[in-house]
């Protein structure tokens, strides 16, 4: 369908950036806060135009913008969304107003620059999801690093500079390698354009494909993060401010899985098929290892961080299954992880603002003093544990289905994660909500339950758990055609896998 507004994607991408400029220009914290919140809200509403004007049967890119940028190098300002990226864009614009609202409420230290950075980050994230030109993607991809670096390093807690630097250097090291590979691909094929590159794969020798794939995969594996490249994540999450954690887990990690699916796979199809089992094994290790390590964490934020390693393991497992169930499930699971883990971090943030601690041992019996909070916490934990009827199950099950078709043993091993996920989440719930109140600070008269506006932040997320859990076809109808096209694009892979 034709775009209702010309340059809709550019508008969605750069609205937050304009908002950031306005925030900086305004005087006084109040106006800055309002401007930032309104910006993200408007961006979200505008992004919904994508949903409402979506052409359901269409597998190709929609709302395409294609301008010449540097014709000497065939560089183009080429934007577009398909079923794979649509919901990642919407996830980003959906989570932003919630995080900004939370920050407005609780961040006290130089809120102006903080909000501006958040908005810049939003632009960069959206740009990365819709860029169809490798260099353009790379620019956006790298540009997400800086605001997040500052958000952790300046507004974080405890050992924040160490965590921020580690986050930056680790991710940067990966993408530096990818930049070289991007240039190499250009020299081999003469194109930076992802809509053209799959057809040009034959121009790359097998050795070339292997090295290119390894470079791309490494960059994305760090970002996801795939075991054993994950150790920056708990540090970054524990030290990051709440909004930073929500965005980091909710959106930034998906740049890794999305990048792998959008770029590494189609550009290097044979290498991707060849090394698929390696990625699958790392993903399975991540699922079990992440869950086990989460089980014994003392800080609830690092528990959630390790749970992300496990959950994103499922996403990668679906991707390497290379069949419709696996990949569509993986795309849906990216969204699921974004809202479930985002909600978990939001709840941890709400708790932290009340008690100024995140140690599980400090809590206990909260169901008695703050029942509404604990009720929400239970639903969020169940969503994350993949309870059928809620969102997480649909993604996890279809991923396992795809992987079983591809390699049954891998799927069975990964299904063990289902047991472990319930274990660590119920352990957290048991320690926080249940049992007697042992610490006077947790008594009802010292701890306030969720306020109306806090419920309003959580409710959209929780409603989405149910909508995706019960009516996933609202989303899958849009995801499936693009996934099918992606698979059809790679006959070589399908043949290899079939053998």
């Amino acid at each position: 369908m034709a775009s209702p507004i010309p340059y809709l994607l550019s508008l969605i991408t750069f609205l937050p950036l304009i908002g950031a400029l306005i925030v900086m220009a305004l005087a006084g914290d109040g106006p800055k806060k309002r401007a930032a919140f309104i910006t993200t809200l408007v961006t979200f509403v505008v992004s919904l135009l994508l949903w409402f004007n979506w052409d359901n049967g269409q597998a190709n890119m929609q709302f395409v913008e294609d301008l010449r940028w540097l014709p000497e190098f065939n560089l183009r300002y080429h934007l577009g969304v398909d079923g794979i990226s649509l919901f990642l864009v919407l996830l980003t614009t959906f989570l932003m107003p919630i995080t900004i609202y939370f920050s407005n409420k609780y961040v006290t230290d130089s809120i102006g620059p903080y909000l501006a950075l958040m908005l810049v980050l939003e632009s960069a994230m959206i740009g990365a999801f819709i860029a169809l030109d490798l260099v353009l993607f790379f620019v956006f991809f790298e540009f997400t690093l800086l605001p997040m670096y500052f958000l952790i390093g300046r507004w974080g807690s405890g050992n924040r500079v160490y965590a921020a630097t580690k986050f930056f250097l680790y991710t940067f090291a990966g993408s530096a390698v990818m930049l070289v590979a991007i240039l190499a691909v250009y020299f081999a094929t003469g194109s930076f354009d992802i809509t053209e590159l799959p057809a040009l794969a034959a121009k790359m020798s097998p050795t070339f494909q292997t090295w290119g794939f390894i470079a791309f995969a490494l960059a994305f594996a760090i970002k996801i993060p795939l075991f054993p490249f994950h150790t920056w994540l708990p540090d970054a999450h524990v030290q990051a401010p709440t909004a930073g954690s929500i965005i980091l887990a909710g959106v930034l990690l998906k740049l890794g899985t999305y990048g792998y699916l959008r770029f590494a796979l189609p550009i290097f199809p044979e290498a991707a098929a060849h090394y698929g089992p390696v990625i699958a094994i790392l993903a399975i290790i991540g699922i079990i290892y992440g869950a086990l390590v989460a089980l014994v964490q003392k800080d609830v934020k690092s528990l959630v961080a390790y749970s992300s390693v496990a959950h994103l393991g499922y996403v990668m497992l679906g991707v390497v299954a290379m069949n419709p169930q696996g990949i569509s499930g993986a795309v849906l699971q990216m969204v699921n992880h974004g809202i479930s883990t985002g909600a978990l971090f939001l709840m941890v943030g709400l708790l932290y603002e009340r008690r100024h601690t995140r140690l599980l041992a400090e809590f206990g019996g909260l169901w008695k003093s703050v029942p509404i909070f604990c009720g929400f916490f239970l639903v969020v934990a169940m969503s994350s544990a993949g309870l059928p009827g809620l969102n997480g199950f649909v993604g996890e099950f279809t991923i396992l289905l795809g992987m079983y078709k591809h390699e049954p043993v891998f799927a069975i091993l990964a299904a063990i994660g289902v047991i472990l996920a319930a274990w660590y989440l119920l352990t957290a719930f048991r320690k926080i909500a249940q049992g007697p109140i042992t610490n006077p600070a947790n008594e009802a008269n010292r701890l306030s339950d969720l306020k109306f506006d806090e419920i309003a932040m959580l409710l959209p997320l929780v409603l989405l758990f149910f909508i995706i859990g019960l009516f996933p076809n609202l989303f899958l109808d849009k995801i499936n055609p693009s996934v099918q096209a992606l698979i059809n694009q790679q006959p070589a892979i399908v043949m290899k896998v079939g053998r």
């Binding site: 390093g153 086990l292 309870l387 396992l400 076809n473």
Partner: protein
């Protein structure tokens, strides 16, 4: 009428939602009335559906009601749909019928509870999940209910989440244990569904049944059924996963009656009966199920013999009776198992509610060693409890007699060894059933204070007891030997099975009657007359005593060899492998670069803008190179 089947989900969902959203503004009577009212409404819908099914030709009594397309990815298509057939409606009637009685009972039983509203939200949610479980037309839909009842069970076992006692520890831990043990079973369910779909390309019961005959090899069918058996063992508390059910008694007694006796725990049996086509192919898995069932029945009965907590006696008895049902489905006597499922729902719900009434009258006391002589203090509770015990014991003409006998007849035909185990267990069952009658209700009061304050429960509690007692008495009429009306009614869902040989049937019937009466007499002599001969006769049971009191050390075994090793290795992974090895390596990399060159050192000063600048410079240089090179 079938168009209205969705109301079965809508009523309990609405009840839970109304009480969740506005319950805090309502008084307790209204909350209870709403919660019980929606379950009664669902029961009436089920009755309507029952008559609609009667109106159909027996072969046509299987109606799929499509609600919406749930998950569609290419060839993977699952709908949210209901399967209305004799099996699902029978179960629905039990769930909503017994459920409604327990809701009504709870209004009185829980009246002093401050979390009254929450209790009824959970209870309605449970009914919803249980109906999804029995009414879904596919494995995946059933699984939604399957895990939903697990969540309800978790919430209700740990209902008093801040309390503990010496017998259960923290109630919240009992709830968590139940959920996690069930998740082990759910792992099996998930793997079974993955395998089924990848082989047959469908997850609906009808298509699986149609495709299984030609599409499944023996090996595949056995693999799938072993995985399903793992799931059934979790939900229906069979060896090796039964350990959560005794602890589940930490929940309020109506919960034990509804969830942990009458309905949820029978889900595994229902699932096997529903998928009987697979089990008829999977001979090894079926035989294993039969043996697991028989051994569980025996093993749990041996523990029930020596328990002193009234609810724990009933809990182990439930495990044991579920063992019978598992034995039944294992030997292919699906109709008999469902029959026992139904009568067990009547008499075990009755026994639990009566035990709750005893508790209510004794201010929470459950230790039978402190009771005695209660029959005069609580006449209704006493009489109904006797009826329940007699049904459990399989006293001739009681409902439990016919249903247990039907299973035993099936076992006799399949394998005499299984039959002998089942028959011996029946002796133990009759013995412990009446032990639980004689010690608390007869004899002299053992605790004067407790006895003096004992009182009968109000009519709102005793009325459900009498209704259930009536059902426990006459429930056998559903499926009398040689008539087999229930089994005949279930045939469209469970398939036609040959009538057992008359000689088998008569032999089993006679032996069952004798063994139940012998068990009763033994208990009578031992606990009422306390005769030396009976003590001598029951002496051999003593060997069980110490191991049975420790529940055969199964919990200890699991903790020592499974739970703790996993936790310990997780500790090692977290503190050593993750932090020292992997992260140590990550942190070590910058150190080598530091020693390698001074220029790199500046990169380690944390001034990230420098790196940003370097990207920019780097990209510019590269771009410039190509611009000029071109």
């Amino acid at each position: 009428m079938f168009d209205l089947a969705w109301l079965l989900f809508a009523f309990p969902a609405a009840g839970a939602l109304i009480n969740l959203l506005i319950g805090h503004r309502l008084n307790k009577t209204l909350i209870g009335a709403i919660a019980a009212g929606v379950v009664i409404a669902a029961f009436l819908v089920a009755v309507g559906l029952l008559f609609s099914l009667f109106g159909l030709d027996p072969d046509a009594r299987s109606v799929t009601v499509h609600l919406w397309d749930w998950i569609t990815i290419e060839k993977f298509q699952v709908s949210s749909a209901m399967l209305i057939d004799p099996l699902s409606i029978t179960l629905t009637l039990v769930v909503t019928g017994v459920g409604a009685l327990i809701h009504i009972y709870s209004i009185s039983y829980m009246e002093h509870e401050e979390r009254f509203q929450r209790f009824f939200i959970y209870l309605n949610f449970f009914i919803l999940a249980m109906l999804i479980l029995v009414l879904s037309d596919s494995f995946l839909g059933m699984f939604v209910g399957w895990e939903g009842v697990g969540l309800a069970s978790f919430l209700l076992i740990g209902f008093w989440f801040d309390q503990r006692d010496d017998s259960y520890g923290y109630y919240a831990d009992a709830g968590k244990k139940a959920f996690l043990v069930n998740r082990v079973g759910d792992f099996g369910m998930i793997v079974a569904m993955l395998a089924l779909w990848s082989i047959l390309g469908t997850l609906t019961f009808k298509d699986v049944a149609a495709g299984a005959e030609h599409g499944l090899t023996l090996g595949a069918a056995n693999f799938i059924c072993f995985m399903l058996l793992l799931g059934a063992s979790g939900k229906s508390a069979q060896i090796p996963l039964y350990v959560w059910l005794p602890d589940a008694m930490a929940g309020p007694t109506p919960v034990s009656a509804l969830i942990h006796a009458a309905t949820m725990v029978t889900a595994g049996i229902y699932m096997i009966a529903r998928t009987h086509v697979l089990w008829e192919i999977a001979s090894s898995a079926s035989a294993t199920a039969a043996w697991i069932g028989a051994l569980t029945a025996l093993f749990a009965a041996s523990i029930a013999l020596v328990q002193t907590d009234l609810k724990k006696i009933l809990a182990y008895s439930t495990v044991s009776q579920l063992g019978y049902m598992m034995l039944g489905v294992g030997v292919g006597a699906y109709g008999a198992s469902i029959f026992h499922l139904v009568t067990h729902a009547f008499f075990k719900a009755l026994l639990f509610l009566a035990a709750g009434s005893v508790m209510h009258g004794l201010h929470g006391e459950l230790d039978i060693r402190k009771m005695g002589g209660l029959k005069d203090k609580m006449p209704s509770t006493f009489r109904t409890f006797v009826i329940g015990s007699a049904a459990l014991a399989g006293i001739p003409l009681m409902s439990g007699f016919f249903s247990k006998d039907a299973i035993l007849t099936g076992a006799l035909e399949a394998n005499p060894a299984l039959y002998v185990i089942g028959l011996f267990t029946a002796l133990l069952t009759a013995f412990y059933s009446f032990r639980a009658v004689f010690i608390p209700f007869f004899g002299k009061p053992r605790d004067k204070h407790l006895y003096d304050h004992a009182h009968e429960s109000p009519a709102l509690m005793t009325a459900p007891l009498w209704i259930l007692a009536a059902l426990a008495l006459v429930g056998g009429l559903l499926n009398l030997p040689f008539v087999a009306s229930l089994e005949h009614w279930l045939e469209p869902a469970l398939g036609h099975h040959e009538e057992p040989f008359l000689t088998y049937e008569l032999l089993a019937l006679t032996l069952s009657a004798i063994i139940a009466v012998v068990g009763y007499l033994l208990a009578y002599e031992r606990y009422l007359k306390n005769s030396p001969r009976a003590r001598q006769l029951t002496e051999p049971f003593k060997v069980f005593q110490s191991v049975a009191e420790h529940k055969w050390y199964v919990d200890e075994f699991y903790n020592k060899f499974i739970v703790n090793p996993i936790r310990r290795s997780a500790e090692v992974l977290a503190s050593f492998i993750d932090r020292a090895v992997i992260d140590g390596f990550v942190n070590w990399v910058p150190h080598i670069s530091q020693t390698l060159g001074g220029s790199v050192q500046r990169l380690q000063n944390g001034a990230v803008p420098t790196y940003a600048l370097s990207i920019l410079v780097g990209v510019t240089v590269i771009v410039a190179y190509f611009v000029f090179a071109a």
